[in-house]
Symmetry: C2
Subunit: 268 residues, 2 copies
């Protein structure tokens, strides 16, 4: 009997060329499909909730697959974790309804971008935080976050090759950002996180927004300049793409209930 299984996955993206399967380079999807096919004893195609760039990390990636294997879920989960390298972990394996799709059923996602503005990057954090040394004022950045909140055409922050219109339902580069927050770490001065929750994100969108927000915090461009970048709808107006290794896919939401519960106590 065919089943749909949904996986909650955490990974360290450092050693991988991103999520998506590619011939002869290590990717998260590629390794997971290989181990799943072994355990289920049949070729498995794994569908992820979205692609992540090379070097991006995930605390709560979701993916699903169909299988006729009779394996019990706890055994599947344990078996996968024993075959996978320690930089990829299965947090949970659950049955899903047949019409569940990790990508098309998602109603919102939360990403986090971690960075440090101190002079020296601590060696033990260098793989998980971007380094933007120099003065950084949160106030104008918070003003820009207000400008970004809501439904906007984010064409200025869209990476090349972003859209496949047949898959995005023709909404072009318009997305809705529900909540954006800048948080400074309580115990580690000059360590910041930018949190983005929205109904979808264009390719490189968060990294391009971060690359434009950092100069605002550094006083190099004003919130008014930033506003003009949004309205330009032109990638050339925005700043550089921030490094991948500061970015974490934190959580994917699949129902209003889950979204409301989780967004009040964000899992960061």
């Amino acid at each position: 009997m065919d089943r749909t299984v949904r996986l909650l996955i955490s990974f360290d993206g450092t050693a991988y060329k991103g999520w998506q399967r590619q011939a002869s380079v290590p990717t998260i999807q590629g390794i997971l499909e290989q181990k799943l096919s072994l355990i289920c004893n049949e070729p498995i195609v794994l569908h992820g909730a979205g692609r992540t760039d090379a070097g991006v990390h995930a605390l709560g990636m979701v993916a699903h697959f169909h299988t006729s294997s009779p394996i019990q879920l706890p055994a599947l989960s344990r078996g996968l974790n024993s075959l996978l390298p320690p930089d990829i972990r299965i947090i949970k394996a659950e049955h899903a309804t047949d019409n569940f799709h990790s990508r098309f059923s998602a109603i919102a996602k939360t990403y986090r971008y971690d960075f440090h503005t101190g002079r020296i990057m601590e060696p033990t954090r260098r793989l998980y935080e971007a380094h933007f040394p120099g003065q950084f004022d949160p106030l104008p950045v918070n003003n820009c976050l207000k400008l970004l909140t809501g439904c906007h055409d984010f064409a200025s922050f869209e990476g090349a090759g972003s859209r496949d219109l047949t898959k995005t339902g023709g909404r072009g580069s318009t997305r809705t950002l529900f909540t954006l927050r800048l948080v400074e770490d309580d115990t580690l001065p000059l360590h910041f996180s930018l949190l983005f929750t929205g109904d979808g994100f264009l390719r490189h969108m968060i990294r391009n927004i971060v690359g434009t927000l950092i100069p605002v915090g550094q006083g190099k461009i004003s919130p008014a300049d930033f506003s003009a970048v949004i309205t330009a709808r032109d990638r050339r107006a925005a700043g550089p793409t921030a490094p991948a290794h500061g970015l974490f896919l934190v959580q994917i939401y699949y129902s209003e209930h889950e979204f409301n519960i989780q967004s009040s106590t964000p899992m960061i």
Copy 2:
């Protein structure tokens, strides 16, 4: 003119066989001496405040060296950081008095041991926290920390080949622990840190103490059993050596003033 220079160093121990120079394997001291000798244009011998085991990390290692090079300290610091790999960073370079010795002038050190008791270790933390999955009760562990505080013979927690009596001033395996604390992370449940500040530590002492405290938190041995381990003064009475990668050398203190200031606001 000969000068004494003191370095404050942070490193990720993952890729190194510990602090101490060894032929043909990468060590922190070995790489630092190599880069220092290049910059100072003369062979440099670097004296560290202590050895760290393979895999142990440091936020605030201190080392000193003598040189006749006229190089200015900011240039030395920048030059070193540009030559060193990103998993070793010079936080500060300062002049020291001729009688300063990074090891013999130290009056206290703080170490931190980070661990996670959840079922699954997050991939992005796996290199910097030990994993002790299962129930963990802080209360009996805190009782053991009270037993460890003060001046004791720590022979039960001493690794083989620990002592060089000519260098430890004949105090044998007696050390004084000033403060010990168990802290649970505010935002990440089941992530704990054990903090140890003392006048000195025997080889593997903290990792052996941690390896004996964890079974106390898991309810496998009682604080009374733990007390018996201390008084046994026999390594065989204690638990296993906890993994190196959870251990951080946090800070080394060189004067009463610095110690009092810093111990009231520990740099963790």
